[in-house]
């Protein structure tokens, strides 16, 4: 029996957050979404009060990560997640306006699972998110040991 996947959305732009949520819901994904608008609070949730990540061990999490955050770059959060033994198996989807190839490569090198560029063209954006939603619905997030 797997726990339902919780979507952790780290996005400082509330408009983007709203659009992402709308499109995920439109794709028929009803998993809970936990929004965070800055890196600090997101990390506090992910790592727990003790900062070890143990609190989320066994929780099925999927992280939607924006790279441009007010207090830190999303890359740092990505690094933290992928180097934490309790969190490293959680899939991370990087969602950002940057379509810089070196940036994309860097994210994949750090263990990012999917990289999505937010296009200005809304149809493309909505389509990308909905496909992501389909992906969420079939994804099996492994439980942490």
């Amino acid at each position: 029996m797997t726990k339902p996947v919780t979507i952790v959305m780290v996005e400082d732009d509330e408009g983007h957050a709203r659009l992402i949520e709308k499109n995920i819901r439109r794709a028929g994904v009803n998993n809970p979404i936990l929004p965070f608008t800055d890196g600090t609070s997101a990390l506090r949730f992910l790592l727990g009060e003790d900062g070890s990540g143990l609190a989320n061990s066994g929780n099925a999490l999927l992280v939607l990560l924006d790279l441009n955050l007010p207090d830190m770059t999303g890359v740092e959060i990505l690094k933290t997640i992928k180097s934490n033994q309790h969190l490293k198996l959680s899939p991370v989807v990087v969602l950002t306006t940057t379509d810089d190839k070196t940036e994309i490569k860097r994210c994949y090198d750090l263990g990012c699972n999917v990289y999505v560029t937010k296009p200005v063209n809304y149809e493309n954006f909505a389509a990308a998110i909905r496909q992501l939603g389909l992906f969420f619905s079939v994804i099996q997030v492994p439980e942490m040991p």
Partner: protein
């Protein structure tokens, strides 16, 4: 270099930059002083003048010495001649006396030999004294007396020869000869004294002149020695001043280099700053744009929902109401359409900035490029447009390059694109790609027979988001700005020549071999 030391060196550079004009002025002043001072050339000239003066003075004095010596000699000669004359007179007299006393023929021959030479002797003295009127007068007197004396002696001898011994004796006894002898005494003495005095004074002059010669030579020697010393000192001073000036110049050079390095660092920093700025701005502008576009689309969807709800609430019977609904829907669509079109355009502009900033930061990888093949491939990829417009392309044999392939490809793709895009309607296009080598690198020309560009727009077309001519073709005004950025980064330059309604020629000069340094220099 860490930040602290960079700041430090920048401050250093600035300080040395401030010092620079002062140091330069110092060096210049030093050199000026050298020029104003009694320079070596002057000393040299002075030395030559002194030598010439000594030479002239010596020559003059030597000439004068010779004159004095000759004059002294002359006086001696005169004295000598006078003595000779006196001797001849004495000898004739003693010959006469001997003959008269003994009648011996030997005395007679002594007399004969001597008496006839007495008067010629005066003639010789006369010649010697030609330059002295006083002596000449004395000589006239003497010659007169001598003539009388000679006559008297000849007469006595003649009497004796004729056997008139008594007459001869009477003549001798008359004391006339003695009287003549006595009369001859004073003028002869005066004459001799005069000549002796002359000799003495001339010898004096000679001695004086010799002394002068010696003094002048010694003085000249001393002057030359002084000049040599002065020249040595001057040389040393000049050398020192030159060394100081060259040291100062070296300092100035160093300061200049520091300044150049500082400027270079500043410019590189400024350039990086601009690139970063462009990058950040374009990203940050994009985020709100995503929202605007997203919620505009949401609104569009909402409009449909609202219309449906309205219809459901009101019932859909009244054709008048339906027409008004349709009108409203069209208005809303129009407004949303404008918003979306503008967002699309803004997105393209931001993308263009992003692209250019990215090109400015991309690392270049030089490799040998067969330019004929590269341009040929571009033409092949444009085949469709070429056929559509009936355009012919001529590619000359193009010399190869060692450069960044992608950048060169983008440059020529843009230029060829433009050439096809801006042909004159109804005129079959003719495009030529040629190349000439030059010292600066290879100059590739892309020429067309298209619509051309007005002169006032020639510079504008290279600016970002600026376009020229009739705006009847799609585009954002990015292509040529991008091309120029790339060409500059490749260490080259681009120029344009155009005649409206006849065509344009774009000339791209690229270094035959791209190196990081050449590009960097070009960029600064």
């Amino acid at each position: 270099m860490d930040e602290a030391s960079a700041t430090e060196s920048a401050t250093d550079g600035r300080r040395s930059a401030r010092r620079l004009p002062r140091a330069l002025a110092n060096a210049r002043r030093r050199v000026d002083r050298l020029r104003l001072g009694l320079g070596l050339p002057w000393l040299f000239a002075l030395g030559i003048v002194v030598l010439v003066v000594i030479g002239l003075a010596s020559a003059l004095l030597v000439a004068r010495t010779r004159d004095s010596a000759e004059a002294a000699n002359h006086s001696l000669e005169v004295e000598n001649a006078i003595s000779t004359m006196q001797l001849l007179l004495r000898r004739s007299e003693s010959g006469q006396r001997g003959y008269l006393l003994t009648g011996d023929e030997r005395y007679r021959s002594i007399f004969d030999r001597s008496v006839d030479e007495v008067l010629p002797a005066t003639d010789r003295i006369r010649i010697l004294l030609a330059d002295n009127d006083n002596q000449q007068r004395l000589l006239d007197q003497i010659a007169d007396l001598l003539k009388q004396k000679v006559d008297e002696m000849k007469q006595t001898v003649a009497h004796y020869d004729a056997g008139r011994v008594a007459d001869a004796m009477a003549l001798v006894r008359s004391d006339r000869g003695q009287a003549l002898n006595e009369a001859l005494g004073p003028p002869l003495a005066t004459m001799k004294t005069t000549e002796q005095q002359l000799t003495r004074s001339r010898t004096e002059t000679l001695r004086g002149t010799s002394l002068q010669l010696l003094v002048i030579n010694l003085a000249g020697l001393a002057t030359i020695v002084l000049l040599a010393v002065a020249a040595t000192i001057e040389t040393r001073r000049t050398q020192q001043a030159l060394r100081a000036a060259s040291e100062q110049l070296a300092g100035v050079n160093e300061a200049l280099e520091a300044k150049v390095a500082e400027r270079t660092a500043d410019l590189v920093e400024a350039n990086d700053e601009i690139q970063r700025f462009a990058y950040i701005v374009s990203h940050d502008l994009r985020a709100p744009l995503v929202n605007i576009m997203g919620f505009t689309s949401e609104l569009e969807a909402l409009r449909g929902d609202i219309a449906e709800r309205l219809d459901a609430a009101r019932g859909n019977d009244d054709p008048q109401e339906a027409a008004r609904d349709e009108q409203l829907a069209r208005d809303v669509d129009e407004a949303l359409g404008f918003i979306k079109a503008s967002i699309g355009r803004m997105d393209r502009l931001i993308n263009a900035i992003l692209k250019i900033s990215r090109e400015g930061r991309r690392d270049f990888h030089p490799e040998p490029i067969d330019m004929s093949a590269l341009v040929g491939a571009i033409v092949a990829s444009l085949e469709h447009q070429l056929q559509e417009t009936g355009t012919k392309v001529r590619i000359d044999r193009l010399p190869p390059l060692t450069s960044d392939r992608l950048a060169v490809e983008q440059i020529f793709t843009n230029l060829m694109d433009n050439a096809i895009k801006y042909l004159r309607p109804g005129v079959p296009g003719e495009i030529a790609v040629t190349c000439v080598g030059s010292a600066a690198g290879n100059v590739y020309s892309v020429s067309d027979n298209g619509r051309g560009i007005a002169e006032r727009d020639l510079e504008r077309v290279f600016e970002l988001f600026r376009r020229a001519g009739t705006q009847d073709r799609p585009g954002e005004g990015i292509g040529l700005a991008h091309v120029r950025t790339l060409v500059r980064r490749l260490g080259g330059s681009i120029s344009i020549e155009s005649v409206p309604d006849h065509g344009s020629v774009f000339r791209v000069t690229l270094p035959k071999r791209w190196t990081d340094v050449s590009a960097r220099e070009q960029r600064l």
